[in-house]
Amino acid sequence: MWFPRLASDRVLRAHPIDGPFALTLRQANAERLYCLNPEAERQGLHREMPFADARAFCPALHSRPADPVGDARFLHVLRRWATRYCPWVGIEGDDGLVLDITGSAHLFGGEPMMLSDMRQRLNRAGLTARIGLGDTRGAAWALARFGEGRAETGQPLDTLTGLPVAALRLDGKTVIALQRLGLRTIGDLEGAARAPLARRFGLDLLLRLDQALGRQPEQIAPLADPPHYAARMSLPDPIGLFDDVMAGTSRLLDRLCARLKARETGARALRLTLRRVDQEALTVELRLAGPLRDAARILPLFERGVGEIDAGYGIDQMRLEATQVEPLPVHQISHMSSGRTDRLNDLISRIGTRIGLENVQRFLPADSHIPERGFIIAAAACSKPGGPWVALRPRPVRLFPPEPIAGTRPRPPERFRWRRISLTTARATGPERIAPEWWLPDENWRSGLRDYWHVETRQGRRLWLFYTPQNPGWFVQGEFA
């Protein structure tokens, strides 16, 4: 199954445009046409054409930037759709699918019926598709791209004989060389002597030929479906009581956790979607501090979110999805690992449901002499405690934004007032000079160098003062224990 205009069809499906349309992609510093619709091809445009030329040929051209990643995603969606025809579906290149319909054609009333069904459905979806059907993967490829049709069982050569050699999945150089030799079609190639061909072009050419004609086997590799972590439940009668919703959640959670367990993964974020009778969907989001697949531990965390929702006329559909999943291998439990981390993670998750998981934080050391930058604050759920803490010089346990006090001389003032307290300096240790980090702009350090003093007052309080020699002034920035 080949989609010659996958990219432009995808965009036109969302925003239909009449008239010539093309997608452009920036290649080697030039905008080039990436994919275009039949209307544009009729105007004489072709792929790989510089966009400026195309505009000159066809001033009415509509264009959009291409999105190859989105196209690849769309192809995967189509692959999933194609599993309605047979279980073995693989991706072929950037814009094709390969289906192994052995044994499933009769379900659709035979091969021709199946092909017309495919065509009809794709056509309705607005996709241009060319479908080839053959005994072998090579024959189907050739027919999809060059012949559009069906090769009779057991006689692939009859259908393929008139197709050009390019239909054999060969590279461009080989194709040109074969044409120069006068071997233009597959029939010509099949009729030629094999030994000289093998010597001239290598075994690859003959391998491709044999694969197309069924003399060499070729497998298709079906893509595995990515694991799907979700469970849903439809209820015959709407429910609205808290206990009922929790009971339903518990059943969904059991199913989901069984699935997580089978794959040795744990959920990190969950979403419970409750669909009300009046088609309104309510969601309860839950983020966990660590990967978890224990239903009994997750369920109580939902209580808060479920308690807050408004059931309205009742809920008749529930869906639970693990939106973020992390590997969680099975661990040997020993008397050494006392589950303390688990309990702490549970606590963090529980507190997180109330104040937001990013508000539960921890300190991490940072490498800077600037007191405010000597540490960073990170969310506890997505960081590990780490690093050694080094305090080369005494540092206060409390830091606050600098509070000015009176004084202009470089020695600490004998008496000063701070926060409406009169203080007398009894002992001052210092100065410790800290220079601003010029590579990081910081408003607070505009005043230049700072000379820090550890000042012990006769009243008891031990303060961290600094003096700015470039802008004479005294400030209090911290308090020692």
């Binding site: 303390r340 606590l347 604050i377």
Partner: protein, 144 residues
């Protein structure tokens, strides 16, 4: 705010978790949750308005259930009646030491009141509760 670099002299800040709350109701809820859970040995909270009887009692019960110590930093005169003990700690100037503090227990449900001079012993990494004999500063506040 707390400076973990300064705290690292006393204990490893890796064992410290912070919860940033929006208002005091949230603070109390988080504290109660943490106290009841018991997986953290000490819960410290800072309040700005006095606790009423119900709030204080709930925290007290939660701490009992979780076997956890709760420490509430209160502005002067805003203590709760439910608290087991209440302390008043002030730094004290001492010519030879810059860690001296006076810890005074001003409420005790299950014992007597008292006052101690404590200093941080950096070599043994613990508090020295008893002042060295003869060097006790200001005998007015000494324990009896």
């Amino acid at each position: 705010m707390i400076n973990p670099v300064g705290l690292s002299v006393f204990f490893d800040p890796a064992h410290l978790l912070l919860a940033q709350t929006g208002d005091q109701t949230e603070t109390l809820a988080v504290a109660e949750e943490a106290l009841r859970d018991g997986s953290v040995p000490l819960v410290t909270l800072e309040i700005t308005r006095p606790l009423n009887l119900r709030e204080g009692r709930r925290l007290q019960l939660a701490a009992k259930a979780g076997n956890t110590t709760g420490l509430c930093l209160i502005p002067e005169g805003m203590g709760s009646n439910a608290a087991e003990t209440r302390w008043h700690c002030t730094p004290v100037f001492d010519a030879g030491d810059s860690t001296l503090m006076r810890w005074k227990i001003i409420k005790n449900k299950s014992g007597t009141l008292g006052s101690w001079h404590v200093r941080w012993n950096a070599t043994s990494h613990r508090l020295d509760v008893v002042s060295p004999a003869g060097e006790r500063p200001g005998s007015a506040g000494a324990s009896d």
